[in-house]
């Protein structure tokens, strides 16, 4: 009887343990699709961490981080900070501070401390009309360090709220600003201005293709847009020239440090995109070359020393965006060694058949793949990267 009692007790314990273990096991077997992104600073620095030249600035969950010597540093608190852009001398940066219904532009030190407010878009506290507030995105400084460019939602009429490219003194006020582009109505507008050394800008203009689909196009503008008038609200095309075709749906331009190449992303109106590069002569884009295909790629940015291109991309489909680096050798391989010339046979002239040289083994260029730098972060793919040398 005692044996049966202990047997029963043992079975009961077994039942409890097994059922509990099964529950825990099943709980641990889920796919972790909803795992929250870690701060990049977690676990940083890692042994053998990949190092990039200079310091890279990027944004995650409303905070700006820097990455240098294989280590992330959090520069601001998680409070809507995004789209950092460096001064030409690298001493300060511009950054967007986004709230739920407007965004401002600030000057920060390169360590993330607030210096001053450049554009205040909060509107009047007494005005409850949501249309009285504004968005500023993609601030960039011209090479002179005194002129700021940005996308700004003015002019807007009623429901039509397009972003347009504006220029203003970085130490001035918005009413000193000049409108550079007339965005196309009901498209979302013009974004991502890149100031050029020639005084103009390259930017992404949204328009409609022949099928009515909204697409991005790279544009070049060398002068402010003529002001729109009452009848022709959009002087489409008057402010410059298109650099890419509508159906290519290109955006996020980035010019190489030597100024002779451009990187961009193009979707061809699909839900994946390509990282493409092309030569750039200051007014035209050369033949484009796809470096990465069939993967989501965002914010390509050239290294200041020209050693490669950093970009954001998910490591798995549907995943959070991680930091990647594509070394220069992937798109600009070193020239192959010269083909060996057969040594002539010593002696007098030979009149027979020329000896055929032993065929050299085919030179297969090693495939350089992009290097994934982070694994569990969740960077803001709508926030351009800033890279100091």
């Amino acid at each position: 009887m005692i044996a049966r009692f202990f047997l029963g007790l043992g079975l009961c314990a077994l039942l409890l343990v097994t059922s509990f273990a099964t529950y825990v096991y099943l709980g641990g077997r889920n796919s972790k699709v909803d795992v929250v992104a870690q701060k990049p600073t977690v676990g940083s620095p890692r042994p053998n961490a990949f190092t990039l030249p200079g310091t890279l600035y990027l944004s995650q969950n409303g905070a700006i981080y820097s990455y240098s010597f294989g280590r992330f540093h959090q520069l601001t608190i998680e409070d809507g900070w995004m789209q950092p852009s460096l001064y030409p001398d690298g001493t300060y940066m511009l950054a967007v501070h986004r709230t739920y219904n407007y965004s401002d532009v600030y000057i920060l030190t390169r360590f993330g401390q607030r210096i001053s407010l450049v554009v205040n878009n909060a509107g009047s506290a007494n005005n409850s009309d949501t249309g009285s507030k504004h968005w500023s995105f993609y601030p960039r400084l011209a090479p002179d360090g005194a002129t700021m460019w940005m996308s700004y939602d003015e002019p807007k009429v009623g429901y039509d709220v397009p972003l347009s490219i504006w220029e203003m003194p970085v130490n001035g006020r918005i009413n000193q600003g000049r409108l550079w582009t007339n965005s196309i109505d009901y498209t979302g507008g013009d974004i991502q201005p890149i100031p050029l050394t020639t005084g103009g800008i390259m930017y992404t203009k949204y328009s409609r293709d022949d099928n009515g689909n909204l697409v991005g196009q790279l544009w070049l503008s060398m002068r402010p847009s003529p002001p729109a008038n009452g009848l022709t609200l959009t002087t489409y095309g008057a402010e410059g020239q298109a650099l890419t075709s509508a159906t290519d749906d290109c955006s996020s331009p980035s010019i190489s440090p030597d100024g002779h190449a451009i990187a961009m992303i193009c979707t061809y109106e699909r839900q994946d995109d390509r990282l493409e590069i092309a030569s750039w002569d200051g007014s035209n884009i050369g033949t484009r070359r796809a470096l990465i295909i069939n993967q989501l790629v965002a914010q390509p940015t050239w290294a200041p020393d020209g050693s490669g291109i950093a970009f954001l991309a998910p490591a798995v489909p549907g995943g959070q965006f991680q930091l990647w680096f594509l070394p220069k050798n992937a798109y600009n391989p070193p020239p192959p060694p010269p083909t060996p010339i057969p040594t002539p046979t010593p002696g007098g002239p030979y009149h027979g058949l020329a000896p055929s040289p032993t065929p050299a083994p085919a030179l297969v260029a090693p495939v350089i793949k992009p290097i994934q730098i982070t694994t569990n972060a969740g960077f803001d793919a709508t926030s351009p990267l800033a890279w100091a040398g």
């Binding site: 097994t18 529950y23 909803d34 249309g131 949204y206 909204l214 991005g216 549907g318 793919a381 709508t382």
Partner: protein
């Protein structure tokens, strides 16, 4: 008799051996039973919620003949037989406090044809403002069909007007979409353009559903959580194509959800079901849903997915109450190509 074994001892040994076998069998049975109990405990809450959400009975009210029902007279489409193929009507509603829960509109209606043999998916968005005869009688914008007869009313109206057969439906509310996307950890979308809206309804988690808020979903590839994905698919004020434009965005998000759902395993079901609780309804039974989840993962080829949105000349504006007047011959010709 073999030497060394007495008859009584052999019987005891036999009983002891039997007892060990019985004990082992009992233990194995107990382990199996308790493992099953653990599994039931794990999946029970999800099963309860899933049971409530799935297998919804489609009730269709008797139709009242409508004098304006021009579409009924359209020729029946020739059926395209594809073994195992089925058609689902996806319905999305603004189920905020502006509406009575039983009388919500369907702001989004998408016909989806799934052809397992060729791994093809065809999606056709129906404009919510299309002026159609209702199954229950009378005419109006098609988004009202649900409010007059729930899913059954919407299905019967679409079947009647478009000459299609609908096998299943899935209805999801505003919060349901947000919770679904959050439960699967967000989605990756290439947003087509900056979606900026100064008068976006502030009716989620807000006691005043008629308030407005500003939204700005920036352009390009990005990872969207539920709230921002909702803003992307719902905003229409800053889109010249209004409802048509957002239908295209809705299809992008649907495909992104499908892409992400490939990574979901059966053990994720409890957390997803708990997140969704009450925000989704479907006519599909639990078994059918369980069968389709792994099946959906096999649809890998993006070129095999056809997304369509009805644009002019399939309709023209100027209908009653700002509705769209359908061009039925054109619409039926299109629908007949893809939907039996």
């Amino acid at each position: 008799m073999p030497l060394g074994i007495l008859p009584g001892r052999r019987a005891r040994a036999s009983r002891r051996r039997l007892s060990i076998v019985r004990t082992a069998a009992l233990a194995i049975f107990a382990i199996g039973l308790s493992a099953m109990a653990g599994s039931v405990a794990y999946f029970l809450p999800a099963a309860k919620l899933a049971w409530d959400a799935t297998g919804q009975v489609i009730s269709i009210a008797s139709p009242t003949p409508s004098p304006t029902s021009t579409a009924v007279s359209s020729p029946t489409p020739s059926p395209i037989y594809q073994p195992g193929a089925f058609t689902v009507l996806l319905l999305g509603s603004d189920d905020d406090s502006k509406f009575s829960p039983d009388h919500v509109l369907t702001q989004s209606m998408i016909l989806v044809r799934v052809i397992p043999t060729t791994k093809q998916v065809i999606m056709l968005s129906i404009p919510r403002d299309l002026y159609v005869p209702f199954w229950a009688g009378g005419s109006g914008k098609i988004d009202g069909a649900y409010s007059y007869g729930q899913a059954g009313g919407a299905i019967a109206t679409v079947e009647q007007d478009f000459g299609v057969h609908i096998d299943e439906y899935i209805w999801i509310g505003l919060l349901g979409l947000i919770k679904l996307i959050d439960a699967i950890g967000g989605i990756d979308v290439v947003t087509s353009n900056p979606v900026i809206d100064d008068y976006y309804p502030q009716d989620i988690y807000d006691p005043y559903p008629y308030d407005f808020q500003r939204v700005a979903v920036l352009a390009g590839p990005q990872h969207l959580d539920g709230i921002h994905a909702m803003q992307y698919v719902r905003s229409r004020h800053n889109d010249l194509q209004s409802d048509i434009g957002r239908s295209k965005r809705q299809q992008q998000v649907l495909l992104a959800i499908r892409q992400k759902a490939k990574q979901v395993s059966s053990t994720d079901v409890p957390s997803i079901a708990a997140a969704l609780g009450g925000e989704i309804k479907t006519s599909m039974g639990l078994g059918r849903v369980a069968q389709l989840i792994p099946f959906a993962a096999t649809f890998d080829n993006p070129d095999a997915i056809t997304s369509m949105v009805m644009t002019p000349p399939l309709w023209h504006g100027g209908g009653p109450g700002g509705s769209l007047t359908p061009n039925w011959p054109e619409i039926l010709a299109l629908v007949r190509q893809y939907f039996p």
